[in-house]
């Protein structure tokens, strides 16, 4: 039986809850009956009476054991279970490392947690994924691809908010000083209790689940309180832990020899695009909407990385910033994706404890479940991208961020989550960030990052005009005149009209100047407030940004898991590993085998190899003397979709990895057939229907 996680059922909380309740009752019954037996023995009751009581006790113990097993079974197969998942993950990871898909970085120096190198097959897969990403997004949508530095001066990341807010809460072992993520410790505690402690009450289990659900929003104080309440200590040493405090996750460095220019390694690629908005907008002929894209390395100084390849300190991001008029977020190509149906998990369904369900994207936008057409368009495009790579559509869902998960400036945000042995993993974030980013950089840099819309006809608009009378203000406020002037000019319309009314009725008004941190007395002769009608020929506005952001390493890891399986060897004595990569992403498209070590067959193999190279098909020749079955097994483990076997000098067989089916083709046809199926111009079914079938009962191992 192949090891492959079938679609996991959503946890049946009601069943688990009732089983925990039942287990609690059984435990009480067992304890009570045990006490009864001891009481009877103490009172020297008649033996038959004691025997009957003991029999009842054993019966109750058996019932408790049954409930216990049932609960254990549900836990291990539910979303919280990890036993089967760990075994599966181990099989995948062992295969990946053995075949050099990845290597822990600097292994010979004991490595560094959270750093991994791509080996040759992993590098090829990544290259294929990025190549397809460019085709699917940049070329298809005519995006502007740019490339900015990783080293970023502090001023940029101050404007974006990362210097102050890009933190995790950390606790420290009070004795050894080892650092841990506070939320991970709490999460581990809750998860372990739920999975392994069958004696906890149903109420306790519900409490722990609530904590797991809301802990991401805990303040340092709340997190610290929970850690103390549950008596959580440092994992290895059992030492007490410090209170949680924020640790900035950016790698810091210094630019130039002086040490006076602090810099950080970028935690995302987006900021480089935002600061270049003006140039890109002009380059695009001052038209909206348009998109800029960037693929590059990003860096996060995780406190203590775990989850293997999913939480790393250096990773590849592919990000799109789609700039759009905030008053018009329709999309001309939305109809291309409107009919798509896939698992979506809106906010309301999450709050009411339901599951993701298959929804029609067009309807989700029409109903307002998804905030706008452009956001919906990118959700659809991401779905198509991921499923084309080989992600199982039954294990892919789009989950809407809860209100508390969204940044205050975000209008809507959906994550593409892929199910893996670690649970549902966020791999792509698709956010409507409104105008926050461009406005932040406009404010901090002093360069307006704005767009213009020329009106077909000039519009007559009523405009607020605030004119401080500097002479009078100077007399009254002296050195603070500038602060007062700036504050007056910064009033919004409501504030200004209110001040105007008060001045007209009372002749003076108290006005708070935030830069002076006090109220000042404004007299009627110090400021003029009015509304003027004027013709405007254009509207100047800050564009909104729709941002799909792809964690390439996470997508690739989930792809590995979704494509991995095993099947029995011919002898039936072992399970052989297999990666079912679609040809699009497979690191090598084809292997070429001479059936036996033979000069003639090897020459034919070389001719075919040359032809494959000329049509750009990555391939390998395997001329070792190993049995053909063993060589097939080796090539399957690398996920190579096709194998050409040379068993004559006029024709060869082509074997398809998943079905093990083989067809016979002439020498001349071999390279073009493999090229066609690899590039998706033909399907294997087409090939099967076109060429003579070949049967080789002895071939597979």
């Amino acid at each position: 039986n192949p090891i492959s996680i079938a679609p996991i059922q959503i946890p049946m909380d009601a069943t688990e809850q009732s089983l925990r309740q039942s287990l609690s009752e059984k435990s009480s019954s067992v304890e009570a009956q045990g006490n009864a037996v001891r009481a009877l023995k103490a009172s020297r009751a008649a033996k038959p009476e004691i025997d009957a009581a003991i029999e009842q006790l054993n019966k109750l113990k058996l019932e408790k054991s049954t409930v216990e097993k049932e609960l254990q079974s549900i836990i291990s197969s539910s979303g919280n279970g990890s036993l089967n998942r760990e075994a599966f993950r181990k099989a995948v990871v062992n295969t990946l490392e053995r075949r050099l898909f990845y290597i822990p970085s600097f292994k010979i120096y004991s490595g560094v947690a959270g750093l991994f190198d791509y080996g040759p097959p992993g590098c090829a897969i990544k290259s294929n994924v990025l190549s397809f990403w460019r085709q699917h997004f940049i070329l298809e949508e005519n995006m502007l691809e740019v490339d900015c530095p990783c080293v970023t001066p502090e001023v940029v990341l101050k404007a974006s908010g990362h210097v102050d807010k890009f933190t995790d809460l950390m606790v420290k072992d009070e004795k050894t000083g080892t650092c841990y993520r506070a939320d991970h410790l709490l999460k581990d505690y809750c998860t372990e209790k739920l999975e392994k402690d069958l004696t906890i009450s149903a109420e306790k289990a519900a409490e722990l689940k609530d904590v797991l659900a809301v802990m991401e929003d805990f303040s340092p104080e709340q997190l610290g309180a929970k850690i103390r309440e549950y008596g959580i200590t440092a994992p290895d040493t059992k030492n007490p832990l410090s209170d949680p405090y924020p640790f900035n996750l950016m790698f810091q460095t210094s630019i130039g020899p002086s040490g006076l220019i602090p810099g950080y390694m970028r935690p995302e690629t987006a900021q480089g695009i935002f600061v270049n908005f003006k140039d890109l907008y002009y380059y695009n002929g001052k038209k909206l909407p348009f998109a800029a894209a960037q693929i590059g390395q990003a860096f996060r100084n995780e406190i203590s990385p775990r989850q293997g390849l999913l939480r790393v300190r250096e990773f590849t991001l592919a990000e799109i910033e789609h700039f759009v008029d905030p008053e018009n977020k329709s999309h001309p190509k939305f109809s291309d994706v409107a009919k798509l149906e896939f698992l979506m998990f809106p906010r309301e369904e999450q709050m009411s404890g339901q599951s993701a369900k298959k929804l029609c994207l067009g309807e989700a936008v029409a109903k307002g479940t998804v905030n706008n057409e452009t956001l919906g368009y990118f959700i659809g495009r991401v779905y198509l991208f991921l499923t084309r790579l080989g992600i199982d559509k039954e294990r892919l869902r789009f989950r809407q961020h809860l209100a508390n998960e969204m940044a205050h400036y975000a209008a809507d945000c959906w994550d593409a989550e892929i199910e893996s042995s670690y649970g549902w993993i966020e791999c792509v974030g698709i956010a409507d960030r409104s105008a926050y980013d461009l406005r932040a950089h406009s404010d901090k840099s002093g360069t307006p990052l704005v767009a213009e819309e020329k009106f077909a006809e000039p519009k007559e608009v009523e405009k607020l005009v605030i004119t401080p009378v500097k002479k009078e203000l100077g007399l009254a406020f002296k050195g603070n005149q500038k602060n007062v002037v700036e504050s007056l000019e910064a009033m919004n319309e409501e504030e200004a009209m209110e001040m105007k009314a008060t001045l007209e009725s009372k002749g003076e008004v108290e006005f708070y100047v935030c830069t002076l941190k006090k109220s000042v007395n404004i007299k009627k002769n110090m400021v003029s407030i009015s509304k003027e009608k004027k013709k405007e020929h254009q509207r100047v506005f800050t564009p909104s940004v729709i941002e799909p952001s792809f964690g390439i390493g996470r997508i690739i890891y989930c792809l590995y898991e979704h494509c991995f399986s095993t099947r029995p060897s011919k002898a039936g004595d072992e399970q052989l590993n297999l990666f079912r990569f679609p040809p699009l992403v497979a690191p090598i498209k084809c292997t070429v085998f001479p059936l036996v070590q033979n000069q003639q067959f090897e020459e034919v193999a070389k001719v075919i190899s040359k032809e494959l190279a000329s049509v750009g098909i990555s391939h390998k020749i395997d001329i070792t003397g190993t049995s053909i079955g063993k060589r097939y097994a080796r090539t399957d483990e690398l996920g190579v979709p096709f194998a050409i076997t040379v068993d004559s000098d006029t024709s060869v067989t082509i074997r398809e990895r998943d079905s093990k089916d083989q067809v016979r083709v002439t020498l001349k046809e071999a390279a073009s057939v493999v090229s066609s199926v690899s590039e998706g111009k033909m399907t294997w079914q087409d090939v099967w229907a076109t060429f003579p079938h070949h049967s080789s009962a002895a071939a597979d191992e």
């Binding site: 010979i108 590098c123 740019v146 460095t253 130039g256």
Partner: protein, 463 residues
């Protein structure tokens, strides 16, 4: 109209070079003194033209840079925040050009030569660079303006001083030659060697303020730290090679334990330049494409050398550079290897492949030369090294380094990490070797050496 301008630049350069060649010829032939004096005067008269040539180069460069900026090929990073020296963004066209170049590079090298392409991390623990020598040696000599605190590269200041001195029409030919030598080697001078020239340029350019003395080494790697404690020091890699060396054992096993094989890496690297100039040619963050071709040290022939043996390209061997007034000349690569100018067939093969790659990209073959490193330019462990230098408005610029580094790198990491990065060769017939085996008497050694017993035991076990 780029072509006419480029042609003009080349004509001017050739004119100057021709004049200098004439001087050499006349002197060698022991012509009558009046003739010699007359010839020597010619370069002096043409020196002002060299200034004009330099001006034209600067104008040309400015036109190119302005065009690149306007069309968003490349521009200063973080411009709205006044940018940072030495960091550049590639815009849509620049990025596309870069991707196309890398695509061709992969086709010409990775695919054609069946190399393994890998991707290692830019973040690297200190232990790796202690082993490779970068922690101690990857430095430039730096001086500081004593008044405004600005930092300058000492070798650049010396080079500028020498170049300006050469413009003085009154200096002798001997002094000019001496200045040329300093200019050529200045980047490799130690602090002590710089001292000899240093006294002449003890003030900062522009400000004329006094400079700190002596020059101090500044490490060019960007430093950071891993994790929350700050105690685990890391650097941003200045090259991609070390990752390939550290993983050699895994790659060798993957290749069926056969040599030769090659590992290729394309990635971003980082150098914390003291004060970047020369625009796009010297930046703090840039892309490298590197190949590590692992070969048996006793067999550096190459099965495909015949594919490149007939190529003729501008080469500038070491011996020619050391003679005054010599230039790169067109040599046949096969002959250069046969004569020993190029140390091995494998090295020659890569020189040829690099040549083919660069001209395929569109580099003008008349402005591309392969220059042999001088003895003092080579690291002590290198057996041979050639640079592909391309002529542009900044002069001849090193763009590709092609080095035979012997076994320095793998040996360094073997020793520091304790993991043997070695290959094995099965011999056709077993060779009988004598192995000296000493079995130390632990009991007798113990009392005599006490705490040092372990060291003594280890020392005695000698193969």
């Amino acid at each position: 109209m780029d072509a006419p301008e480029q042609s003009f630049l080349r004509e001017k350069s050739l004119a100057v070079e021709d004049q200098e060649l004439a001087v050499g010829t006349l002197e060698d032939s022991h012509a009558a003194k009046p003739e010699t004096n007359a010839a020597i005067e010619l370069p002096n008269k043409s020196k002002p033209e060299k200034s004009a040539v330099e001006k034209d180069r600067e104008d040309f460069r400015e036109a190119v840079v302005k065009t690149l900026d306007r069309l968003l090929f490349v521009h200063k990073s973080f411009d709205i925040y006044h940018g940072v020296a030495g960091l550049y963004d590639f815009g849509p066209h620049g990025r596309t050009v870069e991707l196309n170049i890398l695509s061709l590079w992969r086709k010409c090298f990775v695919d054609e030569e069946d190399m393994m392409e890998v991707a290692c991390t830019a973040l690297t623990p200190e232990a790796v660079f202690n082993a490779s020598g970068h922690v101690k040696k990857f430095t430039d000599l730096m001086v500081k303006d004593e008044v405004d605190g600005a930092f300058h590269r000492a070798d650049h200041l010396v080079k500028s001083y020498c170049e300006n001195r050469k413009k003085d029409p009154t200096i002798s030919a001997e002094n000019a030659a001496e200045l040329d030598k300093v200019i050529a080697h200045v980047e490799d001078l130690s602090a002590e060697e710089l001292g000899g020239v240093w006294n002449h340029c003890s003030t900062a350019p522009v400000t004329k303020n006094p400079l700190s003395h002596p020059p101090r080494p500044f490490n060019l790697m960007f430093q950071t730290s891993f994790g929350a404690s700050g105690s685990l020091i890391g650097y941003l890699r200045p090259e991609t090679a070390q990752g390939s060396f550290c993983n050699f054992k895994d790659y060798y096993n993957l290749n069926g334990r056969k040599l030769p094989f090659a590992v290729a890496q394309v990635g971003r690297v980082f150098r914390n330049e003291i004060s970047p100039r020369q625009g796009l040619l010297r930046t703090r963050e840039f892309t490298l494409a590197e190949i590590e071709h692992f070969v048996h040290p006793e067999h550096k022939s190459h099965s495909k050398f015949s594919d490149v043996a007939k190529l003729e390209l501008l080469m500038f061997p070491r011996e020619e550079q050391e003679k005054p007034g010599q230039f790169a000349k067109r040599l046949c690569l096969g002959e250069a290897v046969a004569k020993g100018h190029v140390n091995s067939e494998t090295l020659g093969f890569f020189i040829g492949r690099v040549y083919l790659f660069l001209i395929r990209l569109g580099i003008d073959k008349e402005r591309l030369r392969f220059r042999h490193h001088l003895a003092n330019e080579m690291a002590h462990y290198a057996t041979d090294c050639w640079d592909a230098e391309i002529e542009c408005s900044y002069g001849w610029i090193e763009c590709v380094g092609i080095a035979d580094r012997s076994d320095y790198d793998l040996r360094a990491h073997s020793e520091k990490s304790g993991h043997a990065l070695v290959a094995q060769e099965k011999l056709a017939e077993p060779i009988e070797v004598e192995k000296l085996a000493i079995t130390p008497e632990m009991k007798e050694l113990g009392p005599a050496f006490k705490g040092n017993q372990k060291n003594v035991v280890e020392a005695l076990e000698v193969d």
